[in-house]
Amino acid sequence: MSKKRDAKKIVYESARDFPQMPMSQGSMLWNKTGSWRNIRPEIHLEKCTQCGICWKFCPDMSIVIENEFPAVDYDYCKGCGICAEECPMKCIVMVEERK
């Protein structure tokens, strides 16, 4: 299981807490864009040839490498379907997102 990514949301209680200039030091990892999906990719590893194409073409860095195989990080995957479209072995299938 790869490291779970996350970040804290920043809350400023008063003007004193703000930086002097509009300076962003927080990470966007708190924003779990996985909630944007209607469809989700499922990788059928038995057909995977480890070509790296799905990892390469994911616009949201949501295909991570686990034990030399691709795995979907469902926290962030927006369900665009590029991985399924580009996979040369057609081992990624887009299925309806579970409610």
Binding site: Y12, A15, F18, P19, M21, P22, S24
Partner: protein
């Protein structure tokens, strides 16, 4: 070292002695000598700085902003149309809290196409969040530039040093040019609040929603309000090292004055000549020259004008549909301060028309004749 130099070169010396690291400027009459001398200083190594020869004033300010957020001390100079072209980025520099120092040579806004002096160009930018200092002598140009860097970098707000076109920019005066080691003692190297560095990556000036914008701007105003005290403190430090002190306002014979003139720029010095003449005739008159205009020196203005019976503000500018800008601001500062003195507004010298000591005679005659202003605006020197 005492030298006879023009106002524009005084700006160049100020920027050079302040060890500016990046200059980005575009030529415009009557600013050109500022950047020409700085170019030479960069070329012969007198000043260790990069001079970016940009293609417009908008890019000049953009490059200054970039250099400043990278952590360098930056300077530019411009005038009228150039300043107007930078307008969007003036907001960027102040909202971005970058201590850029800029010389503005007050030049009338076109059309009619003019290269001569009036104050509309800089005053049109008074809401942008920049400090504004109006100077009246070449000595003040050089001293204010150095002090401006110190204040700007301490508080994180950009500053404009404003001088009259030709009347000051091209006028030669004796200037005591400070020694570099003394300036170094006064103005240490720039230590930014934050900068672009891969060692601490962050993003600056990103999309800011209603839940955050207000506090950031509140902080800008609160820090602006600290400037008068900072001006005072840095002014005293300046005096300790250089023997000269600049104050936010310069009152001249105001203590017992019944009529007080309020002036700025070179007209502020001309006013002193007129005041001396009229004092000889027994008229109890004084002159209040405003040097720090943003932030507005409320306390000084209220205190000095408190005992005047009549106040006459001379504006070398106008906010169309209203009246002179210094006049507006003096009136609003006095509102509720307990002063009941009528404030007379005078507009003179637009587009570089000369303001002479005699102009002040005319002003004082009008003031003495009227108990309270008969007109919102009294025009001096216009062929009506």
């Amino acid at each position: 070292m005492r030298k006879v130099i023009m106002g524009n070169h005084a700006l160049s010396y100020g920027a050079m002695l302040s060890r500016t690291q990046v200059i980005s400027a575009y030529p415009i009459t009557p600013q050109t000598q500022v950047v020409e001398l700085l170019s030479e200083m960069c070329a012969d190594g007198t000043l260790q700085a990069k001079f970016i020869k940009v293609e417009s004033e908008h890019s000049a300010m953009a490059a200054c902003i970039g250099a400043s957020i990278a952590g360098a001390r930056t300077f530019t100079a411009t005038s009228a149309q150039g300043l107007a072209l930078m307008h969007e980025l003036l907001h960027w520099a102040s909202g971005g809290r970058l201590p850029i120092v800029m010389g503005d040579i007050n030049r009338a806004m076109a059309p009619g196409w003019s290269i001569w002096t009036d104050q509309n160009d800089s005053l049109s930018q008074r809401d942008t969040g920049w400090m504004q200092f109006y100077v009246s002598s070449n000595q003040e140009v050089i001293d204010t530039t150095i002090q401006a860097f110190k204040i700007a970098e301490t508080i994180g707000i950009p500053a404009m040093v404003v001088l009259d076109a030709f009347a000051l920019s091209h006028t030669y005066e004796v200037v005591d040019i400070p020694e570099q080691d003394k300036v170094d003692a006064y103005l240490p190297p720039y230590k930014p609040y934050a900068r672009l560095t891969p060692d601490a990556p962050c993003a600056f000036d990103g999309l800011t929603g209603p839940e955050h914008y207000f506090e950031l701007r509140y902080k800008l105003q609160k820090d602006m309000e600290k400037v008068p005290a900072l001006f005072d403190k840095t002014g005293r430090e300046f005096e300790k090292i250089f023997g000269r002190r600049l104050e936010a306002v310069e009152p001249y014979l105001c203590d017992d004055a019944e009529i007080i003139l309020v002036t700025s720029g070179t007209a502020g010095f001309t006013a002193r000549v007129a005041v001396d003449e009229m004092r000889k005739e027994g008229i109890k008159i004084g002159n209040l020259r405003i040097r720090m205009f943003r932030p507005f020196p409320f306390d000084d203005v209220r205190r000095i004008l408190a005992k005047a019976s009549k106040i006459a503000v001379l504006d070398r500018n106008i906010s169309y549909g209203y009246h002179g800008i210094f006049c507006q601001e003096v009136k609003s500062a006095l509102n509720g301060s307990g002063s009941s003195a009528p404030v007379f507004g005078f507009i003179a010298g637009l587009g570089g028309r000369d303001i002479k000591a005699a102009s002040f005679r005319e002003i004082v005659d009008i003031v003495r004749r009227q108990d309270k202003p008969a007109e919102e605006i009294n025009w001096i020197g216009v062929k009506k």
